[in-house]
Amino acid sequence: MRRSHGTAATLATLAATLAALPGDTRAAEPIQLHIEGGHQQWLVATQPELKNGQGQHPFDTAVVDQKHNSEVWFTGETLLTSGLTVGLTVQLEANTVADQIDESFLFLKSGPSGMLQLGDTDNAAYKMAVTAPTGGVTINDGDLVGIEAFPLPAGFDGTNTTIDSTPLTLTDDDSGKFSFYSPRYAGLQVGLSYIPQFEAGGDNNNSIARVNGSGRITNGIAAALNYTSLVAEEATLDVSFGWLRGETPPAEGTSDVWGLSAGVLLTWGALEIGTSVAYANGDAPAGRSLDGYAYDVGIAYTTGPYRVGLTYIKGVSAGSRADSARQYLDQVSLSGTYALGPGVDLVAGLFAFDADGEKEVAGAGEVASSSGIGFASGLKIRF
C-alpha cells in the first residue's frame, strides 16, 4: 500500500508489531483472520498547465475530479505455546488495478528476537524511513501522486525512483523477500532485507532472472537503522538511515543500483518538524537510469482533533538513459486534518506542483510538463 499516514504512523505500527507478549499465557489457537484496511475518497480541484511533447496544449482535464485510494486487508496472528507469534497480512486493492494484491506476507515475531517477514512487502529501508510531517495531505510517496491529483509527465515512475519518494524502493516494489527487524535497544532498531529478484508486486514465482544477461535486478540487500528517543521533556527525536542495492543485469546496464536515505523528525509537544533526503544511482532495465535525489521538509502542529502542516518535497530522476534531460517534480502541501472519530479523518488542503519531464520522452498525446495549484479534500477511513 502506498504510504498514506506519514512517518509517525509507520513507526508506531512497526513498534507495535515488535512488541513483546511475555505475559500472555493463552494456549495456541488457530489463526482467525480479520478484515482491516483503509478507504479514502477524494475531491480534487485543479486546472493544471499541461504541455505535450511538442509544446502544445491538447489536453482537457476535469477541473473537479473524484479520486480514491483504498485497500481491504486480511490479517491475523496467533501466539504459539513456544512464545512465538505467527501471522499474516494480505492487502487487496479495493479498486481494480493491475497489481490487485500488492502485499502478501507472513511474519514471525517474539519480543527478544525481533521479527521475520517473508513474502511480498516493502524492504526494511523503506519501512523504517523517517520522513517530514504533513498536515494530512501527504506528498512523500503520498496522496497527491498516489491518487493522481495532477497528471504526471510520461516516463515518471513514482515510488520506484526518487521523483516523489525518499524511502527507497529502486524498483523493489513489494518484491518477494526475506526481512528481519530487530527489537529496539536503547532507542535503536535495525532492519535487513534480502531480495532475490526486484519485481514489482512480487507475484511471479519464476526463478529465471535473466536470459543472455537481460532481465531483472537481482541479489538486492537493504539495511536500515532507526533511532527514537526522548531527548528532553516532551521532545522526541526520530532518526533513520537506509541503504539499498541490487545487481543490474549486464545486458541492461553497466552500473548496479544503490541508494542511500536519511531522515530526522523532532517532535516537541504538539509541534513536529522534520526532513529527509535520498540519493540513488544505477541502471535499471528498459533503458532507464535511477540516478537522482529527493528531499522533503515539513512542519506540523496538532491540537486536539485538529492538525495543520506545511510540507515541501523535491524529486529529480534521470529517467531514460537515451535522453540527457532529467525529470523534475516539486510539490508543496498546506493541509489540515480534523479527526471526526476513531479511524475517521477529514483532510483538506491546498497544493502546488511543478513537474517537468525529459525532452524526448513524451509524444503528441502525452504530458511533457505539468504545473499548477489545486485543492484536495478527502475522507480517510481506517478499519
Binding site: H34, G76, G213
Partner: protein, 392 residues
C-alpha cells in the same frame, strides 16, 4: 485452486465437503467467514548438478540461487443448515497474490446427510476431488510445490510443458478442466464407498466465462479453451481393518476435443491406494491419458507416484517419487519426461502452523526441437526448499 499441498490425499478435500453440515448457527441466514492458507518458501536452486539448457544446447540462463516463492489463498466460506435439514454453503477462493485468475474457485453447494452433496460452480471435478495419491513428508510433488506454485513451482519448466494439464505434473485428473463451471454430485459414504460424478459443458481454466458458444466452424469458440462436454466419475473407498487404514480411488474423465485440435477425444483414468498403520503411510497412484489437446500437443501419456511417510507427534518425514511422460507434439517423435524424488519433513508448530523443509532431485526433459535458443529444453537439479505454511 492448486491442491492444498500438505494433505496426503485429495480425500482431505472431500472430507471438508461434509464438514460444515453439523455446525450450529446462531444467525438466521448464511454468513461468510474468512479462511484460507498462506505458504512462503525459500527455494535453493543451486545445491548441486543444476543444469538449465536451451534448445540450442547452450546455457544462457541466470537464476536466483536463493529464491522466495509463495502460494496463498483467502477463502470466503459459509454454510447454513435449514429447518428441513438441507445445508447450503458457498466457497469463494481469492488468490492472495495478484494472479491472472484472481478468483479461481467460486461455487455453492447443497447437502443433506442422507442424499449427499451437489456442487454447482467453478470447482475441480469429482474424480480430482476424490483421488488418492502417494503421501509426502511435506514438500509435495503431485501438482504440488515442485511444479505447481502460481506461475512456476520449485523446478524450471522446459518449453512445451503443461504440468497440471497433462501427465507431467502428476496423477490428478485435471487435463484442462481447471475449475471449469460444472455440476457435481458426491454421494454419502456407504460401507466405506463414496461415488462422485461431474458434468461440465466447457473446459475453461477458472470457469469465469459465461459465454455459451463452444465452436466456431469447428474451431474452439469463445465459451471454452478447448474441449467440451466434460464428464468425470470418481469412486473412493475408505475403511479401517484393525490398525490398518485403507484408502483407494478410481477415477475417469472424458472431454470432446475440437476438430481443429485433432480427432481423438480426451480419455483419462486413474487409480490410487494409501495404507496407514500407526504412524506410517505408504501409497501410490497411477494415471493414463490419451487424446488430442491441441494441434501441437497430445494428452497421451502416463504418470505415477509412490511414497512413504511417518508421523510421530508434531513431526512427519516422507520420501516420494513421481514419474511422468507425455507424447507432446504429434509431429515430433520424441517425448516429454519428468522425474522427481523428494525427501522432506514437517514440524507442526501449532494449530495450522507448519515448518516444512526438504531436498529434491528433478530431471525434466522436453521434446527435441520444441525449445528454441533461449528457451528451456532441459532442467535437472538437486535442490532444496524450506517454508512456513499457515492455514486459517
Amino acid at each position: 485452486m492448486k491442491k492444498l499441498l500438505y494433505g496426503t490425499t485429495a480425500l482431505a478435500t472431500a472430507g471438508l465437503l461434509f464438514g460444515a453440515a453439523g455446525e450450529a448457527k446462531a444467525a438466521d441466514r448464511l454468513e461468510l467467514g474468512v479462511h484460507g492458507y498462506m505458504q512462503q518458501w525459500m527455494v535453493l536452486n543451486d545445491i548441486g548438478l543444476t543444469n538449465v539448457e536451451d534448445g540450442a544446447g547452450k546455457h544462457p540462463f541466470d537464476w536466483a540461487a536463493v529464491d522466495q516463492k509463495h502460494n496463498s489463498e483467502v477463502c470466503f466460506t459459509g454454510s447454513y443448515k435449514y429447518d428441513n435439514q438441507v445445508t447450503i454453503g458457498v466457497d469463494v477462493q481469492l488468490e492472495a497474490n495478484t494472479s491472472g485468475d484472481q478468483i479461481d474457485e467460486s461455487y455453492l453447494w447443497i447437502s443433506t446427510e442422507g442424499f449427499g452433496k451437489v456442487i454447482i460452480g467453478d470447482e475441480n471435478n469429482a474424480a480430482y476431488l476424490m483421488q488418492v495419491t502417494a503421501p509426502t513428508g511435506g514438500l509435495s510433488h503431485n501438482q504440488g510445490v515442485l511444479t505447481s506454485l502460481p506461475n512456476q513451482g520449485f523446478v524450471i519448466a522446459p518449453q512445451g510443458f503443461a504440468f497440471d494439464d497433462t501427465t507431467m505434473g502428476g496423477t490428478l485428473l485435471r487435463f484442462d478442466d481447471n475449475d471449469s463451471g460444472k455440476f457435481t454430485y458426491i454421494s454419502p459414504r456407504f460401507a466405506g464407498f463414496q461415488i462422485g460424478a461431474s458434468y461440465w459443458p466447457n473446459f475453461e481454466a477458472g470457469g469465469d466465462n459465461n459465454n455459451s458458444v463452444q465452436r466456431v466452424a469447428g474451431a474452439t469458440g469463445p465459451g471454452t479453451t478447448g474441449n467440451i462436454n466434460g464428464a468425470a466419475l470418481g469412486i473412493n473407498y475408505k475403511e479401517k481393518f484393525g490398525d490398518v487404514g485403507v484408502e483407494a480411488s478410481l477415477g475417469g474423465m472424458y472431454g470432446d476435443t475440437p476438430p481443429v485440435a485433432g480427432s481423438n477425444d480426451l480419455y483419462a483414468g486413474s487409480a490410487g491406494l494409501l495404507l496407514t498403520f500407526g504412524g506410517f503411510e505408504v501409497g501410490g497412484s497411477y494415471t493414463q491419458a490419451q487424446g488430442d489437446r491441441s494441434a501441437t500437443q497430445q494428452y497421451d501419456g502416463y504418470s505415477y507416484d509412490v511414497g512413504v511417510a511417518y508421523t510421530t507427534g508434531p513431526y512427519k518425514v516422507g520420501l516420494a517419487y513421481q514419474r511422468g511422460k507425455n507424447e507432446g507434439n504429434p509431429d515430433n517423435s520424441s517425448e516429454q519426461h519428468a522425474d522427481y524424488l523428494i525427501l522432506s519433513g514437517t514440524y507442526t508448530m501449532g494449530p495450522g502452523v507448519r515448518i516444512i523443509a526438504g531436498l529434491y532431485a528433478a530431471d525434466l526433459d522436453g521434446e527435441d526441437g520444441a525449445a528454441a535458443a533461449n528457451q528451456v529444453k532441459e532442467f535437472s537439479a538437486i535442490g532444496g526448499g524450506a517454508g512456513i505454511t499457515l492455514s486459517f
